[in-house]
Symmetry: D3
């Protein structure tokens, strides 16, 4: 895939995952490092999220799990929103965090659930 | 759920996930610490894997991801086998590892893929 | 141990460890995920803290160490309070953090000591 | 090297790395734990930064990388300032973070770049 | 404390913790990096283990916990031996690992327990 | 940069970093996952190592540091060889590991130094 196509595929994946507000926030990276921005779009979303075999929802299961495991709670919020946007239910996300408790320990699971509770409230998720 | 029911539910989940050989190996824990063994079965497999909302296949996606992220490669082998046993395809597992590369970095993804390659060969997975 | 007994044992352990204010804060989890709350109480405090062989004070030494090592600083504050509540002295906690410096590196030790300083001040610990 | 010499060597290294404001902030540790403060100065800066073979700039490359990898973002800010103080350029720091993306994954790289952007702005770094 | 005293204090602490065989193995470091060896002895064992407030047994509780949490299983073996040497019982070590399961997740706890089982067998610990 | 150019740039960077034997070993990935192989070459070595601003030697300083910090010791060996191939001296590598001791703790530093000692011996590095 040529660069332009990779970048365009990345932008499209980001549109499917994130709200316009989130994407505008992410674009702040352009000013600090246009090169890292280009890699995020072309590699992160163009090369990875645009691939087949796994759906966006399945990819967000992986993304949420790795963020919780590595304690990357600042990035968790936007990916919780993305997970809901691409069709994961509130119940599935809660279940994912509970499953993680046994694998990463309760401290990280509890912190993740607190953040999820905030996101559910903001997005008025009642599913 | 009473203790006995939790333990029995755990044993049943383990039967669905692991081959008899793997389960026999795991039972070595009984001799070192019967209490930890009891918790693995009752909590790990009884409380977690026996819950609803997520299928065994979805749970193995979470488990594989957290093991790769935390570098727990000794446990990865049996859960790769379990993932195949509960219906994940070779392609989905490879795709999961590729997705992880962007989130945990290439060193852990490369190590995971090497281990997966070995498991696929042993189990003669050609799907 | 039956479920009700595990849950009750957990509540009792939590009463010995945490102030009423802290416990009220923790109960916020009930609204987000009653199931995770149940596991925290029954497994985390009922199955683990209520066991014999190690005292509550010894268990908090383990808990503080693992939280510092994994960088779970959001959970550190309440367990520093719990450690003081179950009889660890300010000097022992400071010593624990200093010992950790050699094993997890100075960045996490320094951050932990800063948080401990704040907790000591709030609780007016002069021991 | 005797204690006093180690401590003095540490103070001198800290003077080369950090602004007076940052050093005053760091000295808050003296009140919480004079012993940890002594180790930070004598071991961290006296034994490590005062050694030969690697320049201060090369040492900050190592320090920034390990802080990003372990997610120690609270300590990252002062070492980004130190890195600029001892001669690393804005471009080199950005490049370091981009290189890390492939080795620790994008979530930590993105968070580090956001913090770096803030530090560059505060210090009006235009190099 | 002067250098020579720090080094001597470190050697004495190591004698209390480790068997002659283990210490001979550790001294292999002298050939690769005499400077790191000096720091291990003077800082690791001289500055840290030789301090007061916590006993050697309490320090090994901290050390075992941090090694399990960070997955440093290669170092775990010698510190399990040290823990037994300075008076921790087999039961206390098993209990420590079980407590960790809730805080770091089952994969690392299971791996640690397997290693502990091997050490207990080698040292014929039946306490 | 188009795909072919990214891939070719990656292959060239790998030639500068690794011996033919190491590269042949790495190519085993082609059979397990041609797609991950393509990303390793095009993104890891094409996009990252082929950029300007930092030399190969500076990049290996970053790579060694992040591998030691995350405990990725299986990957450390080939990058220690690469570091020597692109001009880092034995002394600089030893110094890097010593610096890391203060930031990641002694257990990982000691393990890294042991591996480095083996690599130095194999490559008969006497610099």
């Amino acid at each position: 895939m040529e660069m332009d196509k990779r970048y365009e595929a990345g932008l499209q994946a980001m549109e499917e995952l994130f709200s316009p507000e989130v994407r505008t926030g992410m674009e702040g990276m352009k000013k600090i490092s246009p090169d890292l921005w280009e890699m995020i779009v072309s590699f992160g979303y163009g090369d990875l999220y645009s691939r087949n075999t796994l759906s966006h929802a399945q990819r967000e299961v992986i993304t949420l799990t790795t963020l919780i495991t590595q304690g990357a709670f600042d990035q968790l919020r936007v990916h919780l929103q993305a997970a809901l946007n691409v069709g994961l239910s509130k119940e599935e996300i809660i279940e994912l965090i509970i499953h993680c408790a046994g694998y990463v320990g309760f401290p990280k699971a509890v912190q993740a659930m607190g953040i999820a509770g905030g996101v559910f409230k903001e997005m008025e998720v009642t599913r």
